[in-house]
Symmetry: D2
Subunit: 148 residues, 4 copies
């Protein structure tokens, strides 16, 4: 889908908000793509974020997936909006085995108040094709009157 952003400065709004998230820093996450309605966030494998079997913890995967959905939504919101997650559902499809994890957030329904986004998370390994390891769908609400 092609979306026209309300805010021509949408990319810097998204980047500035991402920078303020201490948690993203702690995860080593980076903002790889910021387009209207489409935001990718990636994160390297890290031993300090594993669960008991040595795979990346689902909470880390969920955190970047929720953020990618939220920032995809924010990219289409009017100037001065802030985005809040009302709810999300995540399906954890396969173990998070890989060297890098990419959360691809895409808006599927923009709206003045409510935006719905979907994020697929892929595990990348040194060889071979990316594997879909999780999918998240989120409902976001725009809050007006905020300084971004």
């Amino acid at each position: 889908m092609n979306f026209t952003p309300h805010n021509p400065e949408f990319a810097s709004v998204v980047r500035a908000s991402f920078e303020r998230q201490g948690l993203m820093k702690m995860l080593g996450a980076t903002l790889d793509r910021v387009e209207p309605g489409a935001v990718d966030i990636s994160m390297p494998y890290s031993e300090s974020l594993t669960q008991q079997h040595g795979f990346l913890h689902a909470a880390a995967i969920t955190a970047i997936a929720d953020s990618a959905s939220g920032y995809a939504a924010l990219s289409l919101m009017p100037v001065g909006s802030e985005v809040l997650t009302i709810e999300f559902k995540v399906n954890l499809l396969r173990p998070a085995a890989g060297t890098r994890f990419v959360a691809e957030g895409r808006v599927i329904k923009p709206g003045k108040t409510i935006t719905v986004s979907r994020t697929d998370v892929f595990a990348h390994a040194d060889d071979g094709v990316p594997t879909l390891i999780a999918t998240l769908i989120a409902t976001m609400i725009a809050q007006a009157g905020q300084k971004n």
Copy 2:
């Protein structure tokens, strides 16, 4: 609901698995209650886990809620089982404002293969009554043949 555990050692199984979760340590989370089908996990407020408005990050709340649901499920599983989250949905109802956060995981449908649990998360402040800030519902699967 009153449940009879299959494994008389259920509490030590849950405690041992919790100890192996580096992420729970990083969040400062503790296991406050381990009964058949009911597990509470709590976590103090921490500045390093906030989002841009100074409230605790939703990812931290979600992480303890998912764990409380998972361990509530594990407490009812047969000897040698391991628990995996297939999917969950979380509703973020209010900002995570408080000094301490308690995730109360409760099994609502135990099963040989599939267990469904619900976790309510309450914010506690120095004064006043706890506030419901999030609710999570999760589908868990038992994996047999594991050493706990």
Copy 3:
């Protein structure tokens, strides 16, 4: 939880909207309880609504559960509001075996724009205690400026 309704006529608003739902009639559903933030809808077993094993179809259970959540939300909304379901998740816990099915909708977070409700559905049989067969959680939005 005890809620104070904004609209003193909330019960007649809910009853009038329920009457306009042809689908509820088709299911033989009735509105059994209408209190602030709490609405129960029940439905008898009917052979014409079964799936292949003779149990009531999940779609019928889901329909009354969604309606109970929606009307519980509507009962707390301002005069002139209409309620729309944005999204819901349902867990189908046990087969819908019984003579009567009761969906108990309860608001867990009221709000000016967004309301979150939870509905548990119980199967009643001629003997014995009701069985929890499904649980649904829904996000509802209030639409202002409507004639109820």
Copy 4:
């Protein structure tokens, strides 16, 4: 994604099960596409299935979406399997305005026990392009030892 079915007779298994669903008949639903991991179900607009504003009722949309997800899953299951929905989440994105509604069910993760499917529902009108009105994600379980 390209899937290889376990059961070479998958299409007739799906069609036979669909025929036994009285509810699908009541909705006027038809099975338009049955391929490995991909099942489309469509339904015409019908006045008897509307809600209070004249749009098709969300329960009808949800019913065909859940069925499309379930049959997409069943198409990849071993001989003798039956499919049960454990849980699903649906986002109702736009009013169901149109002359025909098509639910496109696609498996996103097949499995021996658990299958995850996603269904997008499109409204078709006499003119113009189809509109995405709802999206559903479902977790399905295979039950062995059944006669299909």
